[in-house]
Structures are given as structure tokens and as C-alpha cells.
């Protein structure tokens, strides 16, 4: 494998640093932005249509948000779906007919001006969703982030379970006020659009536009680029270095003066922000928020993207998210039909989707814990180990005397 890429790698490394730094990124962004124009020319039949690519981009954004919590700060969050739920319901509350007790319009597009309910411009709702989920993240984080590793995972899992139950039961029957419309969910949610700015050649309302999928695609791409930009800048910031220090050794980080609680809470809050914005956008794209979307498996699905790509590695997480969301949306079904064509036997592959994700998680953890595209520092961490010295050397069956003295 290496030999094939060696000439490419050699000529790549001869390029000036500035080209190397921005060239690849520019290339990828250009290819991504032009995707709606050339995807149907691509061979193989594995490239998804634009409307599916939108969902994939949303998952990329969520995975990047989770990466800040899991990859940078090393806090295992098994309840990330809670932030998706909060974001989705913020969209449903502030841009739909749901609260028909009031009539409030602010910059909304594509709805009649006398329609009941709160209708705020989706652009603002995205920001509101981000703020609300950030606050939710801080509220969840403050009492729980004192806990270490595995306990934190369980608490986040608990929140991830409680929020769907809360959403499911918060209707007239459950709490006496129809907050979430129970199992039916809230739909439709207003469309995105530029409204009056359409004079500048911008689309007025996405939903009624004839290239609806493309418009959502470019908007989603913009959000992803924003997330990537924030991820890169955060990683290289003082805060990001503090996160990585905590991930590598909490005690040492604290000894060096990193405020543990504040730093962890920031990672949780910022991770939540991106989850909320992505969740809000997804709800707008689907035009509805339904409690059945917020199941625990989704959190693990996102976690699987981060692990497959490489915890802490931005390129890796993007790759992992693209691969897994493609598998989830259409890849598994396609693989199923390929197997069916080859063996003449019908296999329902998507049925076992989560078993496959589980197998991916286990395989990656055992064989390539740093992920497909490892973050350099994390790889060193896993190979050389910066945590406690081993309790017990499995390879040497407990003969402690013949251990490498440099371990201690």
C-alpha cells in the first residue's frame, strides 16, 4: 500500500508549505461545492444523490461536534442525541404552527403573514438553537463533569434516555400543556430562505424552489465549513491545548494549572452547540421533529463515526462520518443487493446495521485505535501510553520482573 502512494507523497512533500496547507483543503472544498453538478456523471453507482448528501453533511457536522467532546477533551459522551433533540425542538417551537395560541412573525419566509404560531427566520432559529443547546450542555455538564470517564459516560447516557422520554410524554396528557405534541412530533417546520433578499438573486424560499436539494446542500456545506473552521481554530487555541492535556493526563493537566471543570464544561458546551445547530438544521430539512428520531443508537452511531475516522482528527472524523452516513443511508442496502446478486440469496443487510457499527467499533478499538486517519498526537498517546503504567502485563503472564524497566 505504502509503495503505491510513495511517489505521490514524495512529490506532495516537495510542494511549498503554504500550498500544502491550503491546497488540499481548497481542492476538497471545491470538489464538495460542485458535487451537485457532477455526481450523476460519476461511475459505480455508489455516489448518493444530493438530497442524501445533505443528510450526510449534517451527520458530518454532528460528528465534528461530538469530536470536540470525545476526541479533543477525551470525555465519552453517550447521550449526544440529546443535543440533536434540543436543536430540533427549538426549530419546531420557533418556526412552526405549533404554538397556535400566539401569532408572531419575524423574518419568516414561505408562510402566510396571518398564520398562527411563532415564525422566526430560520437563520435566527439556528443561532437560537445553538445558544439553547449550549446552555443545555452547560447545565448538564456542571453537575456531571466532576465525574471521571466511565461514570460520565453513564450520566450522559442517562440524559440521552431521559430527553426522548420527556419529549414523548410532554403533551396535554403528560404534563397538562402541549409542549412537544407527544409521539406525533411537530411538523411542518418552516422552510429556509432569504425572503426579501431574493432581489439580490438569492433564493426566496428553499422549499418551493426547484433546486431545493441543492440549496440545502450548499447551506449544509457552509455549516460544515464553519464547524471545521471552528474545530481547527479551537484545536490550536489555548483552550484546545488544555483539552488535549486533560485527555492525555487529567492529573498532570490539573497540576500544570489547567482548570479542569471550566475546561471540560467548555468542551461540552461547544460540542453541544454544533450538535444543536446541526439538529436544528436537520429538523428544518426534514420539516419536522419526531421523538422517534432521538434514540440511543444514534449517539453510538455518531460515536462510531468519530472512532472510525480517528478521535481528534478532523480529516478522519469527516471521512468516518461520510463513510458511515453513506452506509446508513444507502450503502448497506446496496451492499445487501450486491450480495444478493452475487450469491442469489437475499440478505437484509440494513437490518443488522447496528451490529455492523458495533463490529466496526470493536475492530477499530482492537486493531487501529487511532482511527483511519489518526491524529498524530493521539497516535503517539495510544502507542506509547501516557496513562497509568500497566497494572498487569497480559503478554508476560504476570512475571513482573521481566518487564521493561523503562515502563516505570
Amino acid at each position: 500500500m505504502t509503495s503505491v502512494f510513495e511517489p505521490v507523497r514524495a512529490s506532495w512533500s516537495r510542494l511549498p508549505a503554504r500550498v500544502r496547507q491550503y491546497g488540499l483543503a481548497t481542492l476538497v472544498i471545491t470538489l464538495a461545492a460542485l458535487y451537485p453538478f457532477y455526481f450523476d456523471l460519476l461511475p459505480g453507482g455508489v455516489f448518493p444523490v444530493v438530497s442524501i448528501a445533505v443528510v450526510m453533511l449534517i451527520f458530518v457536522m454532528m460528528a465534528l461536534g461530538l469530536n470536540i467532546v470525545v476526541g479533543y477533551a477525551g470525555l465519552l459522551d453517550l447521550g449526544y442525541v440529546a443535543f440533536y433533540a434540543v436543536g430540533a425542538y427549538v426549530a419546531a417551537w420557533f418556526a412552526s404552527l405549533h404554538f397556535d395560541q400566539v401569532t408572531f412573525h419575524f423574518g419568516s419566509v414561505g408562510v402566510q403573514s396571518d398564520a398562527p404560531g411563532i415564525h422566526i427566520s430560520i437563520w435566527l432559529v439556528l443561532i437560537v438553537a445553538g445558544i439553547v443547546t449550549t446552555v443545555a450542555g452547560i447545565l448538564i455538564g456542571l453537575p456531571t463533569l466532576r465525574l471521571r470517564g466511565d461514570y460520565l459516560a453513564i450520566v450522559t447516557l442517562g440524559f440521552g434516555e431521559i430527553i426522548p422520554i420527556f419529549v414523548l410524554n410532554s403533551d396535554e396528557q403528560g404534563i397538562g400543556f402541549d409542549l412537544t405534541h407527544g409521539a406525533f412530533g411537530i411538523n411542518p417546520i418552516d422552510s429556509m430562505g432569504f425572503g426579501a433578499l431574493s432581489a439580490l438573486g438569492l433564493p426566496e424560499v428553499y422549499r418551493t424552489s426547484e433546486n431545493r436539494a441543492e440549496l440545502y446542500f450548499w447551506t449544509a456545506l457552509g455549516l460544515v465549513l464553519f464547524t471545521v473552521f471552528c474545530s481547527v481554530r479551537l484545536r490550536d487555541s489555548r483552550l484546545g491545548r488544555a483539552w488535549i492535556a486533560i485527555r492525555e493526563d487529567e492529573t498532570a493537566a490539573a497540576a500544570m494549572g489547567v482548570p479542569l471543570m471550566r475546561t471540560k464544561t467548555w468542551s461540552y458546551a461547544i460540542g453541544a452547540f454544533f450538535g444543536g445547530v446541526a439538529g436544528c438544521f436537520y429538523a428544518v430539512y426534514k420539516s419536522g421533529a419526531f421523538p422517534s428520531d432521538f434514540y440511543f443508537q444514534f449517539s453510538v452511531f455518531l460515536l462510531c463515526m468519530v472512532i472510525l475516522g480517528g478521535m481528534g482528527s478532523i480529516w478522519g472524523v469527516i471521512a468516518g462520518a461520510v463513510i458511515l452516513s453513506w452506509l446508513d443511508r444507502e450503502g448497506l442496502a446496496k451492499i445487501g443487493s450486491w450480495i444478493g446478486d452475487l450469491s442469489g440469496q437475499q440478505v437484509d443487510v440494513p437490518k443488522y446495521a447496528f451490529g455492523i457499527y458495533g463490529a466496526i467499533i470493536v475492530t477499530m478499538m482492537l486493531l487501529r485505535p487511532a482511527g483511519l486517519i489518526p491524529e498524530r498526537r493521539h497516535k503517539i498517546e495510544l502507542e506509547e501510553g501516557v496513562h497509568d503504567t500497566p497494572f498487569y502485563d497480559v503478554q508476560h503472564e504476570g512475571t513482573l520482573t521481566d518487564r521493561d524497566p523503562s515502563d516505570d
Partner: protein, 358 residues
Amino acid sequence: MSDHESPKQSRRAPHELIAVRWRPKGVTVVGFAFVGLIAAWLLVNLVQTPTEFFQIAVVGLTNGSVYALVALGYTLVYGILQLINFAHGDVFALGGLLSATVILDLFDVSSASSPGTIALAIGGSLLIAVAFSSTLNTTVELVGYRRLRNAPRLAPLITAVGMSFILQNVGLYFWGPNYTSIDPLISGDPAFTIGGVEFQWDNLTMILITVPILLALTWLVTSTKQGKAMRATSQDMEAAAMMGINVNRTISFTFALAGGLAGAAGLIYVLQFTTIRFDQGFQLGLIAFTAAVLGGIGNLAGAVLGGVLIGFVEAFADGLSWLSPGANWTRAIVFGLLIAVLVFRPEGLLGERTPEGA
């Protein structure tokens, strides 16, 4: 196993000194007020409908015994490896599914069969389920966790989540997406009645199976050489190895023991509720884990206490008539309790304060 942390306490002490404790006094007051409110709520219900109250308590005790068995598995494994074995609930579900199949296909009994046949079928499927689940749990450890014993702590935890999904899909593959149902083998007739409270045969049988298992487990851990090895390993792996204990084998044994308990719990669950599905293990596992945390993780008596308490909590939240939140909220209450315990008293009811929890 309650004091398994003590030797490591010294190692992690610096963290303990540096970490800022965010624990205002007011929170404790709120906690006590909350517990007081719950007590008042229970008391009002007890006074208003005493018979119903105790009837619900019997249900709670029975469900609690299943939780206790599963919670013991979590606690045993946590005690020795400090690992939350997420796959444990799914081992339970597979044990339950297998025992349902054994009862249906191998023994082919129904509620019309003679009591002797039914007893034989239950005994036989108990053995099979226990053997299967022990093997399964040991295999999970061997394949998944053993190689990650020296890895960063998140690695085995993430692997456990993956294992859980794999096992769920194994259940899905072999038993399909629908419920596997058996006949109610043990009648729900009252065995005896005390003051209007009925003790039904099926509830009684569950407790009759659970209690001997718990006694045997206590004996095994406290009075046998293997139990001593387990306790030693959980206290300090290196020191245990130096004392000539085969640590790998001890850990495998612990996983086998935990798996066996899950298998027994699976059978009891099937006998009580007569249906089981591949994805029920994860939920029940989480509830059982809550029980283990409530009692104090790593503490065997705590797991049983926690299991029974969670059984009560669920039954009361479901069933009481005065100001009851209703069955829709039960799971939210249990997970809320889990979070509350972890935040306010991470060492659990019976556990000692450990640096891990804080």
C-alpha cells in the same frame, strides 16, 4: 469487594487534592428535602390504600430480584476491572432468549404439562442458560477486553458499547425481531394471603430461585479460594499476580460468574413475563446498572439492595394511585435517580467514597 479501591487511592490521591469540589451545602439540603417528599408520598399512599400498597411492593420485590441478579454481574466485573460492561444486559437477553427456546423446543412444555415436567424443564433450561451465558460473557472478555487491559480507560468502555450492539444483533439474527413467547408455566394463583395481600406462586418462585443463587454467590466470594483470588485481584492486580494468583484466569472466572447470573436472570425474566425480545437486554441492563450504582458499585450486598430498591421504585411509580407519575415516566425516573446518585452520592448507598466517583 467494597474496598477494592483502597490500594489505588494513594496512586490517584493527587487528583483528589487538586480537583475542585463543586459541592455546595444547599444541595445536600435539597437532597434530603427530596427524599423526605418521597417518603411522605409513600406514606400517604400506604395510609390510603394499604392492601394495594403491599401488593405493589410484592411486584417490586420480584422485579427487583431480577435486577439484583443482573446488577451483581455489573458489580462483579466493575469490582475487578473498573469497567462498565455494557454488553452485560445483552448477555442477559441472549440467556433469556435461549432459555425460552429450550423450554419451547427441547422440553416442549406448556402450562398444561405436569408440575414434575415443568420443574424439570425449568431446572434444565436454568443449567443450559447459565452455561451458555457464562461462556458467552467469558468469550466477550477474551476477545474484546483482555487486549485492552492496559489501554486508556475509554478504549475498553467504547469496546463494551460495540460488543453490546454485536450481541443484540446476534439475538436479532437467531431469534428475529419479534417477541419469543412461552406459556405461563407457573400459575399466578395466590400461594398464601397475609392481610389481604396475595403472594402469588410465580412471584414466589422467582424469589425462591434468586435467594439460593445469592447465598451461593456470597459463599463463593467470601469462603472459597477462588473468591479470595477474586477479591485479591480486584484490590491490586500486580500484588495478586506476585502472590501467585493467575490474574487472567481469575478475571475469566469473574466474567463467567457474572454471565451465569445474567443467564439465570434471563430465565427468571422469561418465566415471569413469558416474552422476551433481542433488544430488551440493553434497557434492562441500564436499569440494573442503576441498581448497582445505587447500592454502591463494586459492593455485592449493595447490588442486591439497589436491585430491590429499583424494583420498588419502578413498581411504585407505575402502580400507586395517589399522585402517581404513571408508567410513561418510570424509565425517566429511574435514569433521573441514576444521575442523582452519581452526582450527589457517587459511592452509592453502601459503597465507600472512592476517588473514581468524585
